[in-house]
Symmetry: C2
Subunit: 203 residues, 2 copies
């Protein structure tokens, strides 16, 4: 058993997603914008729903509140520095797509919110509800479609997430997500199933 030290009331949940939100509001003259989302998560399976939390003062807050839609772009290691940039610079100052050399692509099921053409995958999301919590407003959104880059599909049609070299956020640092340690249900699986699913037992 561990000895624990208290560090105070803080958002010390980790790892958490490292993702970038895409939005636009051409009706109000807002070009495609990107914002790194520190607080994002899945909240429901049926319907498939995710949440993102955004400060009221952010440009993207008003864009999403107006249009009711956004994309959520997964991030691989090659986009890690671009993701950080999208979290520290405001779209009021810079055209992030142009500055970062990224491509704004249309997102299936959405009208105006762009996705990142270089992302390994992205979710098309429609806002259902906005809840005020304090520093952040919580946007609850339904996932309307998921797009995955061709090259990550294996011959059997499954998706090779390891090849995406995903990035996790851990308390102010971006960390590499690597090899599989297990799969859902592996604690009750037979040695044969564990071996067939590629589990290395020497860890």
């Amino acid at each position: 058993m561990e000895n624990f030290r208290q560090i105070g009331a803080t958002t010390y949940l980790c790892p958490i997603p490292a993702v970038v939100l895409g939005c636009a509001d051409p009706e109000h003259g807002q070009r495609p914008n990107l914002i790194t989302i520190g607080w994002a998560g899945v909240v429901c399976s049926k319907p498939p729903m995710i949440s993102v939390s955004i400060r009221k003062e952010r440009l993207s807050h008003s864009i999403i509140a107006n249009t009711g839609e956004f994309t959520l772009n997964l991030i691989g290691q090659d986009l890690c520095e671009a993701m950080d940039f999208c979290g520290v610079k405001s779209g009021r100052e810079v055209d992030k797509f142009a500055h970062l050399g990224l491509t704004a692509v249309p997102a299936p099921q959405l009208d105006v919110a762009p996705a990142i053409g270089e992302a390994p995958a992205f979710l098309s999301c429609k806002v259902k509800q906005i809840i005020e919590l304090g520093s952040h407003d919580l946007f609850l959104a339904e996932v309307k479609q998921v797009s995955v880059a061709d090259r990550y599909f294996l011959p059997d049609g499954s998706i090779d997430e390891e090849a995406m070299k995903l990035v996790a956020s851990v308390h102010g640092k971006y960390r590499a997500v690597k090899e599989a340690l297990g799969f859902f249900g592996f604690s009750l699986a037979s040695p044969e199933v564990r071996a067939r699913r590629g589990l290395k037992e020497d860890k």
Copy 2:
């Protein structure tokens, strides 16, 4: 730019946290229980708030709804198989703490919900609001205290999350979280600051 394939509307956000919730309701005869939380996230900085989504039919749903409190335990590689077990077995059938040889420890600021004494860190949480979404109810909770195991503190008082060997959840698989690829703001930092913060530039 990538070519994308659509895979349908699904909760394809990754990586996401791999954490275990601790709860108990001695007044109603419910011993300490553990449940793996597939859908958890941070939702607000001030006050510090997290969310967990739980199906109504789960034993822990009623326990938390009754008591209004739970712990959220971070998971290192040595607890990965125990975490999987807590997600596939019900507390109605088995005493998970006893079966897994884990220690139920009191959580600061909470009355009844236990933490895992072998976890690298845990959050003490109080429920503020429950929102029905569909398959899952969303519990919004305030973090009241965070406890971190002594051995992860560095001499300067900072915490070495790499040493925790955290586990991420990626679409049905548990994956190792490893080396730092950057830190918040590194895209705008000088070469000197990047070097001082230990960034390896040969990636």
